[in-house]
């Protein structure tokens, strides 16, 4: 028998701090697998966010910088401008990217910065204990909208992929999910494509990953993925929103 699946060497031996069933772990390993399969792990510099993935620098087996909240695209820009031949990615959550860092993500795309962003959208602030995020669904209960998000108070959830796809400098934008093995395989293809976009020097690339937060959603890991399928995917349609090759 031969090994067909094992822990990627793109990840360190450190056991993650993520809650049981948190899909951050799935997304981490997809990123790690892509870095290894594209043979770029040794020339990669990742940028970790503030939020649940703040400790990502302990998990990816490559050079890492830890950025201030929302500033990963700016930090990534600094790294890439100094080292244009290296591979630079940011890994950000929805509070980090879609709220406090919304200017940075728009501008990094606008400049066509040759970096790749993994955007983990789980519709809530995880690390701080389950507050409303810009991506929280209407009616979804969080600790800062305990009767559910109301449009008249907080607006509708922001659709980052659709927004960024309108920007010329963004060359590959896709939204994927990690709720099933089939979707995980598709997600990996999208991440590969995003990374290739950078390697070919085309411009900015981002993959939005619809993700779960069992702990703060108050659900079991399996229930959380069911809820994701029934509620998040209808509002956040999966698909490729921009692809430089299709243009």
């Amino acid at each position: 028998m031969s090994v067909v699946y094992q822990k990627s060497r793109g990840l360190t031996d450190v056991s993650t701090h993520y809650c049981p069933g948190c899909t951050h772990g799935i997304i981490h390993k997809l990123v790690a697998e892509c870095l290894v399969e594209l043979d770029i792990l040794e020339k990669s510099i990742g940028v970790a966010p503030v939020g649940c993935a703040v400790l990502a620098y302990d998990y990816f087996n490559c050079d890492m910088q830890e950025a201030a909240h929302g500033r990963a695209p700016a930090v990534g820009t600094g790294i890439k401008r100094v080292q244009p031949d290296k591979f630079v990615f940011t890994y950000q959550g929805d509070g980090d990217l879609a709220s406090i860092g919304s200017n940075e993500i728009v501008q990094v795309a606008h400049r066509g910065e040759k970096i790749s962003t993994i955007f983990v959208n789980n519709a809530i602030y995880g690390m701080t204990g389950g507050q409303m995020a810009p991506t929280t669904l209407i009616g979804q209960k969080t600790t800062t909208c305990q009767d559910g998000r109301k449009e008249e108070l907080a607006g509708k959830p922001i659709k980052i992929s659709e927004m960024l796809a309108t920007i010329d400098g963004a060359k590959y934008i896709a939204r994927v999910s990690v709720d099933s093995p089939a979707h995980i395989r598709q997600a990996k293809k999208a991440i590969m494509r995003a990374f290739q976009t950078q390697l070919e020097g085309k411009g900015f690339s981002l993959v939005e990953v619809i993700s779960s937060c069992p702990t703060n959603w108050g659900k079991s890991p399996v229930e959380a993925l069911n809820w994701l399928r029934d509620n998040m995917i209808p509002y956040y349609p999966l698909g490729v929103y921009k692809d430089w090759e299709a243009e």
């Binding site: 040794e42 890492m64 910088q65 201030a68 700016a74 820009t77 600094g78 100094v82 080292q83 940075e104």
Partner: protein, 354 residues
């Protein structure tokens, strides 16, 4: 090389390149715009890179990324813009990244005004951002000194892995003086930047640039490590100019542009037979406490003059440590102190009227 007539903000730019800076990230704000303008043209000529960021916040975080990549990087701004950068400066200090930040101070608070001011002394020397950290802060008072300090700033920052701030004001930025830009005089033995994130190349363990320490014992250890560096800086990097301090009946204390005006007032006092000295801190942090030890016991008082309502006066009092009375005179909001007014203050101290 001969001297060249240059504008202050352009001296900053050219001296930065002279000091090895190859990356500039900034955002427009008056009165420092000639710094990014000059560097946007010059940096590509020397194989460097200029990026106009979307905000001061983004600019300082680009500096973080570039400095973490091992490059000599800088940003410049003016007071409200520096306030926006404080988050990034704190992270840079925490992650021990070398870089240079230029602040051409303007009047405040809030949007304030665009005229010269020294109201950012606190912002420069008292942290500004969160946490127990220090910047090495230089306050040159002429353009040759600006050129020399700027040329050495990157070397100094690399040596200590502590960010350096150059504190000027609108006057330093806008004035023209003859300047000779020469290679940095003080050459330091710099260790390799083996901590930089340049890709492992499969040859070493991953490097991590970070300021997060969730374990309080580790964070305290990190703070103590920084403190040790700060003590080292205090012991080795203090710079000041002292003029007739030993014999003076009044010692003025002033930095930057203001020190030149105070010097004029002192000259006029001397013509009238008065004995007045000057301590001019060149490093605002570390503060030149030792300069005060030469003041005679029966000196009638210290006069701190600032273009603010009194910020450096706190450090003057700390340095005086109760040995002499400390007085203050200042103008603010972009108003400049006149030599005549300073002279009057000096005379009041001598006559015991203050």
């Amino acid at each position: 090389m001969t001297k060249k007539l240059m504008k202050g903000n352009e001296v900053i730019g050219e001296a930065a390149i002279n000091g090895g800076c190859r990356y500039f990230f900034g955002y427009p704000i008056t009165p420092q715009n000639e710094v990014p303008e000059y560097l946007s043209k010059r940096l590509p000529e020397v194989g460097g890179m200029f990026v106009q960021a979307e905000s001061e916040i983004a600019a300082i975080n680009m500096v973080y990324g570039a400095a973490g990549s091992g490059a000599r990087a800088m940003t410049s701004s003016s007071s409200p813009g520096i306030a926006l950068k404080q988050e990034g400066i704190s992270y840079i200090a925490g992650a021990m990244l070398p870089c240079v930040i230029v602040n051409m101070v303007r009047g405040g608070p809030g949007l304030g005004g665009i005229q010269p001011s020294q109201c950012d002394y606190f912002q420069a020397t008292r942290g500004g951002g969160n946490g127990d950290y220090r910047l090495i802060v230089y306050a040159p008072n002429n353009l040759q000194e600006t050129a020399d300090i700027m040329s050495e700033a990157f070397e100094t920052s690399d040596y200590y892995r502590v960010p350096v701030m150059i504190l000027g004001d609108g006057m330093i930025g806008q004035m023209m003086e003859p300047v000779e830009i020469t290679p940095p005089k003080k050459k330091r033995n710099l260790p390799a930047k083996d901590w930089a994130t340049t890709g492992t190349d499969g040859k070493r363990k991953p490097n991590i640039i970070n300021s997060l320490y969730l374990n309080p014992a580790q964070l305290e250890e990190h703070n103590l490590k920084l403190e040790k560096i700060y003590e080292d800086i205090k012991a080795n990097e203090v710079r000041y100019e002292a003029y007739n301090v030993e014999d003076a009946d009044v010692v003025c204390v002033a930095y930057g542009t203001t020190s030149r005006i105070v010097k004029s007032a002192i000259m006029e006092c001397e013509e009238e037979g008065l004995k007045v000295g000057l301590i001019r801190p060149i490093t605002l942090w570390p503060y030149p406490d030792e300069a005060f030890d030469k003041i005679k016991k029966d000196c009638k008082g210290l006069l701190c003059v600032e273009m603010s309502l009194g910020q450096m006066i706190d450090d003057v009092k700390i340095a005086a440590n109760g040995r002499w009375k400390s007085y203050f005179y200042g103008r603010t909001g972009g108003m400049i102190p006149e030599p005549e007014d300073i002279k009057n203050e000096i005379k009041k101290i001598i006559r015991g009227e203050k």
